[in-house]
């Protein structure tokens, strides 16, 4: 399906600096921060936001799981995107506690409060330093 198209085309568009399949991320976050515009050619499909997390790093994380044999390009992309949504969500939920404390700076304790209070974050309990 689209997965096969994805694999064969990623090699074709290797010249694109924003295709993170290669070890692009070793150039560091600085490259991502330089405000490079994302262009794949004269025609670009615009949609809200592309995943900014480096896919190579996400894939490496996934592969630390001994039960994971192979992961499709799409799955790595989707996990990266989901992680982005997760970061947004936890930041916003923690902010509520900072605001309760009449603060404009998000602190570690706000994170801890959010994790304790919100069911979806239960998996994080005991995992953070």
């Amino acid at each position: 399906m689209a997965a096969t198209v994805t694999t064969s085309l990623v090699t074709a568009t290797e010249h694109d600096p924003d295709r993170c399949e290669s070890e692009e991320e070793t150039r560091g976050a600085e490259a991502e921060d330089s405000g490079q515009q994302q262009q794949t050619g004269p025609v670009t499909v615009s949609h809200s936001r592309l995943s900014k997390l480096p896919l190579a790093r996400i894939k490496a994380l996934m592969k630390t799981d001994p039960d994971v044999a192979l992961a499709s390009q799409e799955s790595v992309f989707i996990i990266a995107k989901a992680t982005e949504l997760f970061v947004e969500m936890i930041a916003k939920d923690a902010l509520v506690y900072a605001q309760q404390g009449k603060r404009k700076t998000l602190q570690r304790k706000d994170l801890d409060n959010a994790i304790e209070a919100i069911d979806e974050f239960a998996f994080l309990e005991g995992t953070l330093d």
Partner: protein, 149 residues
């Protein structure tokens, strides 16, 4: 050779940018909070992967796919992510098809130049092939937009 989860943190600059874009202007984030969120994000990746992999194994597949990840999100009670994830998947596929079309159009132009001296039959055959593939790409894009993918 195998990297440990502890060594694989997500880039600080990217995490910081995602946090800043999620929060209203004027809100700051302490270094400790940022570090904790980054760590939580790594844990999320591992948990989501494990969950998704269970679905793949249940289906007797060796390769984890996007469907497994979506199923995992539901299992993890992150249903709110499903719609934006599906849209992102669609957008990404459309982007790839669009890049594919550009490559084909360039190839078509290049071939037209190079086979000028060849017979009309060869030219029209080559052109025809490219048109078919272009049309396929267009139809695929339409199908994806219709959500039939």
């Amino acid at each position: 050779m195998a990297e440990r989860p502890e060594d694989l943190n997500l880039p600080n600059a990217v995490i910081t940018r995602i946090i800043k874009e999620a929060l209203p202007d004027g809100v700051n984030v302490s270094k400790e909070a940022r570090r904790a969120i980054s760590q939580a994000a790594s844990v999320f990746v591992l948990y989501a992967t494990s969950c998704a992999n269970n679905f793949a194994m249940k289906a007797k597949r060796k390769t984890l796919n996007a469907g497994d990840v979506l199923a995992a999100m539901e299992e993890m009670e992150f249903e709110r992510f499903l719609e934006p994830l599906r849209e992102a998947l669609e957008g990404e596929t459309l982007k790839i098809l669009s890049a594919f079309k550009d490559i084909l159009i360039n190839e078509q132009a290049r071939l037209s130049g190079r086979i000028e001296e060849k017979s009309e039959n060869v030219k029209s055959a080559a052109s025809g092939c490219i048109s078919v593939v272009l049309k396929t790409a267009e139809l695929s894009a339409e199908l994806i937009k219709l959500g039939a993918g």
